[in-house]
C-alpha cells in the first residue's frame, strides 16, 4: 500500500497515525507541509528514520524546494518529482491519504 501524508508532523498527528498503521514494506510519501518532517533536526526525524527500516519513505521534491528544505533531507528518505509520484501510485495496488 502507498500511504500519503500532507500535514505537518509538528502540527497534526497524521504522520504518527500513518506510521502506526503502515505494514512492513509499504511506501509512505510525504507531500505539502508533511515534507518538513523528513528534514534534519525536525522533532519527527527520529520516528521517520526508525520507520525507514521497515518502510520505504519518499518526499516530494517540489514541496521541499518550496519550503527551503532541499538540502536538509534525512538520509534514507527518497526524493521524488511529480513523475515519481505518479509512478508510486501506479506501482501500488491501493493507497491511503492521511488527510
Amino acid at each position: 500500500m502507498l500511504h500519503i501524508v500532507n500535514k505537518s508532523a509538528t502540527e497534526r498527528s497524521s504522520l504518527e497515525s500513518c506510521l502506526r498503521m503502515a505494514t512492513q514494506g509499504s511506501a509512505v510519501l510525504l507531500i505539502e507541509d508533511a515534507v518538513c518532517a523528513a528534514t534534519n533536526g525536525n522533532a519527527a526525524a527520529a520516528k521517520i528514520q526508525a520507520a525507514a527500516a521497515g518502510l520505504k519513505i519518499y518526499a516530494l521534491g517540489p514541496d521541499l524546494a518550496a519550503r527551503g528544505m532541499t538540502g536538509r533531507v534525512l538520509d534514507g528518505v527518497n526524493v521524488v518529482d511529480y513523475g515519481g509520484f505518479v509512478d508510486l501510485v501506479a506501482e501500488h495496488s491501493n493507497c491511503q491519504s492521511w488527510l
Binding site: 509538528t10 505539502e32 533536526g41 522533532a43 517540489p62 514541496d63 524546494a65 527551503g68 538540502g71
Partner: protein
C-alpha cells in the same frame, strides 16, 4: 459631536497589535493571508509586532523556491516589511529548536525570544490576531 468628529478623535489612537503566525507556508493559505493583513495594518500607523511560533517559523526560511509547485513565493515580502515600518519581528526559540533551525536559516533579521519573554510580549498586547 458629529460622527466625523468622533472618527478624527479616534484616528490618533495607537494600539499594540500582535500578528501570531503558527502555520507552515503553502500547505494552507494562512501564512500568505496573514502577511497581507499585516501589510494592510501598516497603513494605519499602529504598533505592530509580528511573531512566528510553531510551524510559522518555516515561513521565514531562506532558499524557498516555489517554481515547482507553481504558487507565489511571498517569502521575499518579509524583507520588505521594514519599508512599511514593521520592524518588530519575533521568533520563538523552542520552535526553531524543534525543527533543527537557527536564526541563520531565516531570510530576515529577527529577535529570538525564550518562551517566558514571548508570553510576556503576548500578554501586553491590545489585540492579538492569529493565523
Amino acid at each position: 459631536m458629529s460622527d466625523m468628529d468622533e472618527m478624527d478623535e479616534g484616528s490618533g489612537i495607537v494600539k499594540k497589535f500582535m500578528f501570531l503566525n503558527r502555520k507552515a507556508p503553502h500547505g494552507t493559505v494562512y501564512a500568505l493571508e496573514g502577511l497581507e493583513v499585516v501589510l494592510i495594518t501598516a497603513a494605519f500607523d499602529q504598533d505592530v509586532s509580528m511573531v512566528f511560533t510553531d510551524d510559522g517559523v518555516y515561513q521565514l526560511m531562506k532558499g524557498i523556491d516555489t517554481k515547482g509547485i507553481e504558487v507565489k513565493d511571498f517569502s521575499k515580502t518579509y524583507r520588505a516589511l521594514e519599508g512599511y515600518d514593521i520592524e518588530k519581528l519575533y521568533v520563538d526559540q523552542a520552535s526553531l529548536d524543534a525543527r533543527g533551525l537557527t536564526e541563520d536559516d531565516l531570510i530576515v533579521d529577527v529577535t529570538v525570544l525564550a518562551v517566558d519573554e514571548m508570553a510576556n510580549l503576548m500578554a501586553e498586547q491590545d489585540v492579538v490576531i492569529s493565523f
